[in-house]
Subunit: 345 residues, 4 copies
């Protein structure tokens, strides 16, 4: 018995996504995003988000984030982000590459989030020195966060107000956007553009696709050309883009994305409850999406692993583990995990 | 009746490729290229090319080319290429982006090719001025070429000798590499590393894949780290890379790639013969792979289009058309095209 | 006897320039360009050019050109220039560096110049392919040219009209701008912004300064911030900028720059007349500024060198020499050169 | 009465430096650094530092630092530096620009310095994640520091050992290197390459030059080409470089640089003693070079300013002032400052 709670990046694609990909293969189609699968995306995402959306498919979340930030940040501009943000810690400098040497400035905060006051203080401490300093240009926040928590729409709105007062553009890294929306129970619009978000990296790969992400621009059609130029120069203008676009269509059709995310969240909540009941193990952060961080002794984690539970220890910390639940994690595997946890005291 | 000879980028994926992709979905797998589909690629490509190969999957041919050139060309280095090379004319400056401002220098030549003497003369004319000039760093040639022709292995070897004498690294853009090998009837090794090629963008998407390209390094393992860094920063390290790698495995398994390319070439040859027999239309270049360029009067092309034949006129030239034949072009469609051509005099 | 006609880059500074530099040392002064020597430059250059000018001192002509082009050309933008332009042939890729991978596209022409029709044809041949191509962004012309010729104001105006029709910004590389204005006998305004030029690299170092160049923006105050950001990031915001600014003030005061250039031009004209009268040597280009290119047999050049005349042969061409006359070339040295030429038949 | 303690960047050039500049104007000279003033620099600096030195003159400290770091740090490499380092806080992102998106990672520490253990801990916390993280590439420390303190040679050696163990190259930002050496009383060699430093930005402008900095490479001749390429692309290859090189020659001749720095340090020490004796004002950091940071109430600083003393308050802190003493600060001005301080209680 091997149950995989290592990462939603390791999960399979949902069968309905695969079927859409196969369906897209039934005929020839125009290349480089001029096919009808792709040209429909603006309308479909505009419907989903209830506003004017430009939807740009790309290969990866890293490219979506980097292209987004580079499109609104000059090389001498600063991007404010959480200290553990993927763009800052896990993308090998892709934002700096696409942004020709822009700088990411981490904002302190708790539970994977920062708040409006923390942002304002950090911006204030990093400017005021003219050309000698980086100029504040953009803010990015991750929804759901790297800590498995979720920003409330009101918190996002407060952050976006600070950004707007400084003339900064706002971006959301939505690698796990579905998990956040499923958790909040709001509309996609409410926690994005209605709260002041300008751009969203709409992640789909982790939550059931083969390879499909989209960069969404909310009511900012003037950015399309820059974004498309950056995508082309980055080598992300797929010649057979229809296969990515067909996945995206199936993913948002009939709220499939929210159903998939809801399962992942539900499994996480089940396990979080088991941790809460455990005499020793404890939750490191509030569990609000599909990731559970557990603080425990190393021997406990070793026993859990011996029982066939696969998960990751955080780098440099053998008493902190991350368990990720996926769109296709079955109840039975989560139950098995909970039993294994109970068995180790 | 609509027959599509516009581009192999518009063709479908082969069913065996799709099956491999579906098969790769049967279980969870490690992320970011640590899965077994991907880790086997070095061995499989080493077998195919009969030497030590590092195989790096990427999303697009543009990224394969750009990462390859940037990994061996400093920002102050020059890349020599054909005047109509894809890297120079069709990639929106991706090589300059990945290479932080390197310069592409076009080499004159005929039929989409340049030769060793033309390369030597161009290099000579562009250097000798120390830091004031770009330093010669790399050479890239396209196989099969943008004109639908093919370099003989001996011609490649002569070019690589000139490159080597200048300390330049050699790269082959093999977006249609299968068509070239099928045309030459040589082994993949003969027209690449045995002729002096250091790196190959091994294209698969045009010739039957959904989305799969690989950058191959021949006996240059020391370049792996730079290439992997560039891939990550470019956002091309796919989280679910197994789906691309599985395609590549199926593509080279049992010579599928050569069978697919052979069909495309055969259809092109059939049509080329029809053009040769036509009283007015004539072939612009020798037809050696799967592209046929036809010089004719605009009225002829218009009639052909009215008969349901889809193809592209070259930009700014209404008397020059390109017709591309694909891995899945059926005999019947080519026969229909030939009949249509004959019907228009 | 050694007379130096190798380059105006080798000439001394004029004594009035040195005096200004020494005068600027009489007291302490604000740093990083906030001193009064520097803050007066906008007004002084606005007076000289009879319009609103932003004047940005930098260290070198290369940095002036690169910053100018990068400030108006996105990374995916093309800069059109003459085939032998300094930015293209002699700056080691500085424009591509500052411009994050922009592309320089050479325009064919004669005598170091291109004309409006040649520009229009080249732009037309290099676009129309959307994100796959570079976008036309700017045009740069050199005044006086690398061939020692000068553009008439009407020719500049015609070029700028083509540029404007394509939405391109115009830049003039004025490394030898004084020689051009002295040659044309026009006002500085006439051959720049009145003809449609947006930005000028106003060279002073070659024509009598120690180290002083200025990038001038004509009626484009909105570009100041970008230019100043690029200057800072390039490391050209001098801490003790007053010394450069004091040189620039002295250089344009009382038309010193035009007097200096006029001497250089007069010496060149004297020598050009001697070449015209010579039975074998001939002028390669019309002599309109301070550079004379002579086509002759190699033995002639060798004899001239043996007689103590220092000059450069063009790279790869031992039958083509360049002789440059400077602001401080004395009549006697030019006379000596002419005599030496006459002596060699 | 106005006494200027704002910055050594506002001080005049020393008369011996000016004389050398004037002397360099007595004849024509080769351009672009091939003149004899420049070609002698390697030997002169090798003598001064008692080892093999490559000396590269540049225009500014920012360019010296940026070129140094970019020459040894790939775009995916991290540069470790102090939290208040000039390269991190005051250069507008020039290192990121020259380094094509490298990342500066601040190391915590006290009094403007970090130590070996702090460096090791920070490096350890920022790596281990393969291509997803930046790779450790270089370390830069500032001597004397931004806080007016000085690293002991033994502390430098300990830092360089940590760097070396990680394969990192070491750089020293010596914008005020003369002040540090004068303070330590060691040889220039002892606190640089003998302690493990690979590259030094040898500052001269603040300490008595018009405009002259040199990047020194210790026993690393293989870096020369990269450094010269970066300098050219940055636009810092001065056409009339002799004027900068002549300044540098005069600056190090007969220990002029140390005499000048010693005066600045002595004035700072005098004022530091006065602060120590003051009932309210106190020194923020140990005074070891030519900068004095004073913590006091805002009314005190206001009175001091009213008495004609010019100095800067630190950004965002009206109770912390910086006073800088220069190579040419006369005893009388420092005495006046001390009296003013005593007068304000």
């Amino acid at each position: 018995m091997e149950y995989n709670f290592r990462s939603d990046n390791e999960s399979q694609a949902d069968s309905r996504i695969l079927e859409a990909l196969i369906q897209a293969n039934s005929n020839s189609a125009f290349a480089y995003g001029t096919d009808t699968y792709t040209t429909q995306l603006d309308r479909l995402f505009s419907d989903l988000f209830e506003t004017n959306v430009v939807a740009i498919p790309v290969s990866t979340g890293t490219s979506a984030n980097s292209i987004a930030l580079a499109s609104v940040t000059p090389p001498w501009g600063a991007v404010y982000c959480a200290r553990d943000a993927h763009v800052y810690c896990d993308e090998g400098g892709a934002p700096e590459f696409y942004g020709n040497g822009l700088r990411l400035i981490p904002v302190p905060g708790d539970n994977g989030r920062f708040n409006a006051a923390q942002l304002a203080a950090t911006v204030s401490a990093n400017q005021g020195h003219g050309v000698h300093s980086y100029a504040p240009a953009s803010v990015t926040l991750t929804q759901s966060t790297e800590a498995g928590t979720v920003y409330e729409s009101a918190d996002i709105a407060a952050i976006c107000e600070v950004a707007s007062a400084q003339g900064m553009v706002t971006h959301m890294d939505g690698a796990r956007f579905g998990n956040a929306v499923a958790s909040l129970g709001c509309t996609p619009a409410q926690c994005t553009w209605k709260a002041g978000i300008d751009m969203l990296s709409f992640g789909a790969t982790k939550n059931g696709c083969v390879s499909a992400e989209a960069l969404l621009l909310f009511n900012r059609p003037e950015l399309r050309d820059r974004v498309e130029r950056l995508r082309k120069r980055g080598g992300h203008l797929l010649s057979k883009m229809r296969y990515a676009s067909a996945q995206l269509q199936a993913y948002i059709d009939d709220d499939l994305w929210l159903q998939l995310a809801a399962n992942a969240n539900r499994q996480a909540a089940t396990f979080a409850a088991a941790v809460d009941n455990h005499p020793e193990a404890r939750l490191e952060y509030p569990v609000q999406a599909n990731e559970v961080f557990v603080r425990w002794h190393v021997e406990g984690f070793e026993r859990l692993a011996q029982l066939g539970m696969q998960f990751l220890l955080m780098p440099g910390q053998d008493d902190l583990a991350r368990l990720v639940f996926s769109h296709n994690t079955p109840d039975q595997e989560t139950a098995g995990l909970c039993q294994a946890l109970e068995a180790v005291v």
